[in-house]
Assembly symmetry: C2
Homo-oligomer: 215 residues x 2
C-alpha cells in the first residue's frame, strides 16, 4: 500500500485491511506521522504491517515495481489543518508516485495544488500520467451550492483556465494522460458534456471504476 | 449517532459522514475519549457535529426517542489494548443502549463479554432485545482457522453452552429477541443450519441486512 497523503479518502480504506492482513505501508515521513496521529490505525498490527518510511526521491522495490515518492504542492490533511495552514508547500504531506517497470514509467499524482517546476520535472518522462482532476473550475463546488471551498483551498489545481492543469499537461509527451480523483461536481464525468469533449480533444482520458492500465 | 463503543466497526462509518453533515455524536466519556485519540475524526467539524457526552444511566432525548447508555462487561478498543488489558470490566468502554418511546423499550447490546447482574437488570424490561451474537461457540474462529482469539478474548459472550447468552436470555420476557453483530464464522447465519434451528426454537431471530423493527 502506497500512500500519497493522509486525507480520509486515502487512508480510511486501511481500516478494511485490519487485523491479520500482512502488507507494507509505504509513505514519506509526514504521511506516516499523520497516520500515527490516529490511534485507530494501530489496528494495523506491527507483526503483520511493516511501516516502510521512505525519503523523497528514494527508489524502493515493491511488488516487482520500482516505486519513488516525491513531494508536490499540497497541504496538511483536512483533519490536521491548523490556524497556520499553508497551502502549496512541497512539504511531503502531499506526494506523487513514480512507478517504473522494464524502462516504462507511470506517474500517479492524485492531489496537486500547483504545477511547480519540480513537479513538471518529475512527471516529464512518464509514459502514463494519472493526474488530479478534482475540479474542472476552481469555484465549481461553490457554484453548485455543495461547499464553501475553492479547489485551490482544498489543495487541487483546476483542470480549466490559463493556470489550469490541462493547458500545461497537454504539452507533456506521455502516451496516455488520465484524469483521476474526480469530484462528483466535475462535469467531465458526464460523457458527451462540453467539458468532457474539451479534455478528450486535448488527448486526455477520464478514469472510471474498474479501469485497468497496462504499462 | 449513538456509539456503544469505539472499535473500528462502530466508528469507521463516521468518516463517511464527514465535512458538513450536521449530527450529534452521543456516547459515554470513555468512548468519546477513544474517538478523540484519533486525529482523523477531527473531520467531524465542531461547527456541525455536537459531541454529546452523557453519563451512564443518564436519559437524554434524541430524534424523538429517550436514549440511555449503560456500561456492560467489555474492554478497550482493539487499537488501544495495552499490556494491562482487562476484559469484562464495566468501565463504559463498551455499552448498551435503552431506547424508549411511548412506554415501549428497545435494548441494543452489540458487544457484551458477560451477562452480569447489572446487564440483566438493565435489559429485563425490554420489549425488543438486540443482543451480541458474534460467535456461536467461543473457539469457533480458531476452529475455522481464521483467527487466534476466542470470543471472550474479543469481549463477546458466545451464544451456546451453559454459560452462553441463549441459556440466560431465553428466560427474559421480551416479545422479540434478535441476535445482531454476527461474525461470518457463525453458523446461525446459515438458514436451516442446526445452530440456526437452536436459536429459532428458543424464540430468537437472526438479524439481516435491511431489517426494520417497529417498536
Amino acid at each position: 500500500v502506497v500512500l500519497t497523503n493522509a486525507d480520509v479518502d486515502h487512508v480510511a480504506g486501511l481500516l478494511s485491511l485490519r487485523e491479520g492482513q500482512p502488507f507494507r505501508l509505504i509513505a514519506l515521513p509526514p504521511v506516516h506521522a499523520s497516520v500515527r496521529a490516529s490511534a485507530i490505525f494501530e489496528v494495523l498490527a506491527p507483526e503483520v504491517v511493516e511501516r516502510s518510511i521512505v525519503g523523497p526521491g528514494e527508489r524502493i522495490e515493491a511488488a516487482g515495481l520500482a516505486i519513488e515518492l516525491f513531494p508536490v504542492p499540497g497541504k496538511a490533511p483536512l483533519y490536521q489543518e491548523g490556524p497556520d495552514l499553508r497551502i502549496g508547500g512541497e512539504t511531503g504531506e502531499t506526494t506523487g508516485v513514480l512507478v517504473t517497470h522494464d524502462g516504462r514509467q507511470l506517474a500517479y499524482v492524485p492531489g496537486c495544488a500547483q504545477l511547480s517546476p519540480s513537479v513538471l520535472d518529475r512527471i516529464a518522462e512518464a509514459d502514463v500520467l494519472l493526474f488530479d482532476g478534482t475540479l474542472f473550475t476552481d469555484d465549481e463546488m461553490i457554484a453548485a451550492g455543495v461547499g464553501s471551498k475553492t479547489g485551490r483551498r482544498m489543495g487541487h489545481i483546476p483542470i480549466s483556465g490559463p493556470e489550469g492543469s490541462l493547458a500545461t499537461l497537454r504539452q507533456l509527451k506521455a502516451a496516455r494522460k488520465i484524469y483521476i480523483h474526480i469530484n462528483n461536481t466535475n462535469p467531465v464525468l458526464v460523457e458527451g458534456s462540453p467539458e468532457r469533449r474539451v479534455v478528450e480533444a486535448a488527448g486526455f482520458e477520464v478514469a472510471h471504476d474498474g479501469m485497468e492500465i497496462a504499462l
